[in-house]
Symmetry: C2
Subunit: 263 residues, 2 copies
């Protein structure tokens, strides 16, 4: 799940939310946030009053190739200036404040961001500085707060990790990947008939070698073998291998049979 493969296909496609880092302290985190944005298909980065100025070479070094996101980032003096052209603004906030505001989960805000972007609206998400988080004036600029459901006993979330969760939810909000699939490459899943064919081969050989010679127990033993072979999916390639294994394992007995017959 790591490595620098995959290149940097970071061209903005369609309308996507703006990530707004408010008074970020560490250029490393800005770079890591840009990388996380790229992972989740987010492209638009705005910085409000970065503590150490901008640009910072360290950000590019820590972005693993998300250069285009950093190259296109804009710097703003205030949150108000950074959100002036946006229609909806959300503010990430780990702790409930004494304010009256809608609060969304990460999945909830991803769904709303998708709907707003589909309407052609410009939307953004505010992330606070590493230590203090967003202040009350920052949050008053937002239509709603975002609080990730996470371990309440350990809420200390790194800035880039916070961006990662949003980017991941933004991407998966429209992702159609099946939760579990058997990757079969050039082979394919075997049918029940193909499995039966193998089990018949195996059972014949087990009859021949005497493994199933206890006739009262034979039906149960055959069923148990079938239970094992039907527990997981099997491919046609694997069935060919299993046929081959049975054939090879029985070769000695068959050769012995021929020798005995010829004596």
């Amino acid at each position: 799940m790591t490595g620098r493969d995959g290149g940097a296909d970071l061209a903005p496609t369609g309308n996507s939310p703006v990530v707004i880092l408010v008074r970020p302290q560490l250029a490393d985190n800005i770079g890591a946030a840009a990388r996380a944005m790229g992972n989740g298909g987010l492209f638009h980065l705005r910085l409000v009053a970065p503590r150490d100025g901008w640009p910072q070479e360290k950000a590019w070094r820590n972005s693993s190739g998300a250069d285009r996101i950093l190259d296109a980032a804009t710097v703003h003096a205030s949150v108000a200036a950074a959100v002036a052209d946006l229609h909806h603004v959300f503010a990430t906030c780990p702790r409930p404040r004494h304010i009256i505001k809608p609060v969304l989960t990460a999945r909830g805000v991803a769904a709303e961001l998708r709907l707003s972007c589909a309407r052609g609206l410009r939307v953004g998400v505010l992330f606070g500085p590493e230590r203090a988080g967003l202040d009350n004036d920052d949050m008053a600029q937002a239509d709603a707060l975002v609080r990730y459901p996470l371990n309440p006993g350990f809420m200390s979330l790194n800035l880039a990790q916070a961006v990662m969760v949003l980017a991941y939810e933004w991407w998966t909000a429209v992702d159609q990947t099946v939760p579990r699939v058997l990757m079969t490459n050039e082979t394919r899943l075997a049918t029940k008939g193909e499995l039966d064919n193998f089990l018949a081969h195996l059972t014949n050989e087990l009859d021949a070698c005497g493994f199933l010679s206890n006739l009262p127990k034979r039906p149960g033993m055959v069923r148990n073998i079938r239970h094992f072979f039907t527990r997981g999916e099997v491919t046609t390639q694997e069935l060919r291998t299993l046929h081959g294994i049975v054939t090879e394992l029985t070769r000695g007995r068959r050769q012995l049979g021929r020798i005995e017959a010829s004596e």
Copy 2:
């Protein structure tokens, strides 16, 4: 969504999956991975042949207080040794390999991990080294692969980010947080009757000041005002404020009326 609040309540509760970092290169990433584990309620960390040995002070410095996870981490010479006592093993893998294996999404594996843990099974997830990822022998140790749905144009996912997504999905798999809720603190959502009461107050004052004096247009104007005030949720505290605003804004006219009447 950042800051070092929240302490470090990292006591393992119930059966939870083991995170296995295979040949990790950077102690910084091991620390960041431990922090991400804490965020998502994962506690059990195993290291297979960490490149720079173990323990590494840098890991603790970069874990933001997830010390107990690092303190309890165990080191193993091989993947086989690290998974020997586990019942199910999953391997994260960003790129499809030429192998026949079930492939799960992050959400899919979180659901399976929850089911396995509920059955009392011991389960683990392998994460590969930063640059190369898991090799084919590592993956042969796993029951299934995990591939996160992310931007195929930029799959370069940091190790700690990969752990973060798993930890986040593990936590949210059983989380019941409502996707959107109005945080009202000590006030509460107003009823339609309470809103009507305010709109009647406002309409009376608008009649008195002449704002609604165009009688053919009056019904439509009143409806439009109602449309605005019903677009979002409103609390009883906010209605009291709105009542006060209307009362204060009309004070001058009422005082003027008294002065004119007394003249």
